[in-house]
């Protein structure tokens, strides 16, 4: 199920508008999973694109810059909004049971929404973005050795909640 490619790497970067249209949707979805708010995610991604736009002519590769900007924006937004991030729980609970969601999914969503930012971001990038540990470390601007323990701790929290 994991998608192993980093979507930004294949983006045509010659034209800002095509880059923007290619990236916007996926960046918002990823940010929404991390932040728990679709509106907040749109704001963060929009801000990041404005930053990319201003540096468009000087950036060799806009993709990594955009990724880093979105994650930094998520981190700042997370700190400002603290406990409002319940989107995942709401969406999971709104899913009808016959669409494959069960009580354990609700528990998982609940645990994810309470994880510290770095653990949550690492989980989303790993299991939604399909990134490797090294790629996640680059995105989060942290040592590679930190990412594995974050994911392990997150999974331990989920196992504990499920048990």
């Amino acid at each position: 199920m994991i998608v192993g490619d980093d979507p930004v790497s294949a983006v045509p970067t010659a034209n800002f508008d095509s880059f923007y249209r290619h990236e916007f949707d996926q960046q918002v979805r990823r940010a929404a999973l991390i932040l728990g708010s679709i509106e907040l995610a749109r704001d963060v991604v929009h801000d990041a694109f404005v930053g990319v736009y201003q540096r468009w002519t000087t950036l060799d590769d806009a993709g990594p810059y955009l990724n880093r900007s979105v994650l930094n924006g998520c981190r700042d937004a997370h700190r400002r909004n603290f406990s409002r991030d319940r989107l995942l729980v709401r969406l999971a609970n709104q899913r009808p049971a016959n669409e494959g969601f069960d009580a354990d999914d609700g528990v998982l969503a609940d645990v994810i929404s309470t994880l510290p930012f770095n653990q949550r971001a690492a989980v989303v990038l790993r299991y939604y973005g399909g990134l490797s540990i090294a790629e996640i470390a680059t995105r989060l601007d942290c040592p590679t050795g930190s990412v594995g323990p974050w994911i392990d701790r997150a999974l331990q929290s989920m196992r504990k909640a499920l048990s």
């Binding site: 900007s69 400002r80 909004n81 603290f82 510290p116």
Partner: protein, 406 residues
């Protein structure tokens, strides 16, 4: 991949697929819009902000002193109106049948209780109840499960009604009968609601950009009177001043200043006389708009100020650094700024701080962070702020219920 990892992967993909991201706006506005150009990522300011942290502190102090003596320039009048047709009808929902409303009217022991009401800890993670657990009396009102947790229900000044938002509408619940009245539409994820001191008007931030006034007894199709349209689309907490003549609100990137600035401002109800109360550096002193409350008694404003310590940011470079919290107060014009209490370090995970004035404005309640998931609840009087009383532990939003005359 383990079963758990597979389940996690499926859950995240399915939830992401369900998201309504909305249309991709044209990027042609990027070079022309002055507002958009100001919305640069805070990340690009991070290093500059760190390097000039000391200068920022000095600037903050100078700014506060300046605000005290600043002339209050009149802002252009704004008397627009909110057009309900601009809001999606799909967010409307019929009035739900109240599932349960109980009138308990149990008188609590006299010890440890505020003089004029009960404090409610509204546990946002487990219930949507106005539940006077362990602290008081009056009603337990069961609100719809879809009630927006932040900002939570707001009880009217006379204690008989609670305004809250659920399923895209702002509703006023009569606490005695349990009957809801839908009074306005809300397209924001979290609509801030405030009662006027008279209990007749609601100030609402219905769409993350405007603050408008609505009749508390009106219907859902009523047209609100816009007080102000803000520069940036974000939740803006609103509150009335004690005399009901002004609205206090939090804004980001105000008045063309740096986007890493947050400000507390006030404005007259007719949209004139917009004045700043204070500005803070968002990177180092984040101003969470949900932790601000205006005294119903006088011109005092209280709020919880986060302070990100540079040493902690380095120590916790790979984790969420804790925030040092302070309860601060000032007058409505920014004067008499003071630190009222140090509230400890908050990792702000399962527990969220809060601060609320009592209905008579003579007392206030706040949490001190004593663990990642629980706070110790204190009540202090304005006459003796140095001697707060601890009345228990908990988490979630604080709501005072005024004592009814029954």
């Amino acid at each position: 991949m383990t079963d758990l990892e597979e389940r996690l992967t499926r859950l995240l993909h399915q939830v992401a697929d369900d998201l309504d991201v909305g249309p991709v706006e044209s990027s042609s506005s990027f070079p022309s819009s002055e507002n958009v150009r100001r919305l640069r990522s805070r990340a690009t300011h991070r290093w500059a902000a760190r390097g000039f942290a000391a200068a920022a502190v000095v600037a903050l102090l100078v700014g506060l002193l300046t605000v005290r003596g600043a002339d209050r320039a009149d802002a252009p009048a704004v008397n627009d109106s909110v057009d309900p047709s601009d809001r999606p009808a799909s967010t409307l929902a019929p009035t739900p049948t109240p599932t349960e409303v109980r009138s308990l009217v149990t008188r609590p022991p006299a010890t440890n209780l505020p003089a004029n009401g009960a404090i409610v800890m509204n546990d946002i993670d487990t219930t949507r109840q106005l539940d006077p657990t362990g602290f008081g009396r009056t009603q337990t009102a069961i609100l719809p499960a879809t009630t927006s947790p932040w900002p939570g229900p707001e009880v009217s000044p006379d204690g008989t009604r609670a305004a809250y938002e659920a399923n895209g509408t702002v509703r006023v619940r009569d606490l005695a009968s349990g009957i809801d009245r839908h009074v306005a539409r809300c397209v924001a994820e979290a609509c801030s609601i405030a009662w006027s001191p008279s209990g007749t008007t609601l100030a609402i931030n219905p769409d993350r950009r405007t603050i408008a006034l609505f009749d508390a007894d009106g219907d859902v199709d009523q047209v609100g009177q816009v007080v102000i349209t803000l520069e940036r689309s974000e939740p803006h907490i609103v509150d009335f001043t004690h005399d009901g003549e002004r609205i206090v609100f939090v804004s980001r990137a105000p008045q063309a200043s740096d986007p890493s600035t947050a400000a507390l401002e006030s404005i007259r109800l007719d949209g004139t006389d917009r004045i700043p109360i204070l500005e803070t550096d968002e990177l180092h002193e984040p101003l969470n708009p949900y932790w601000i409350d205006v005294s119903p008694l006088d011109s005092t404003i209280g709020w919880i100020q986060g302070i990100a310590d540079a040493t902690d940011q380095q120590t916790h470079a790979n984790d969420d650094p804790p925030l040092a919290l302070q309860l601060r107060m000032s007058n409505i014009d920014g004067s008499s700024l003071r630190v009222v209490a140090d509230l400890g370090q908050c990792f702000c995970l399962g527990f969220s701080p809060d601060f609320r004035w009592s209905p008579d404005g003579l007392q206030y309640a706040y949490y001190e962070a004593n663990s990642p998931s629980l706070g110790e609840l204190f009540v202090a009087s304005t006459a003796n702020a140095a001697a707060p009383r601890s009345i228990g532990t908990g988490s979630g939003q604080l709501i005072w219920l005024p004592e009814l005359s029954d």
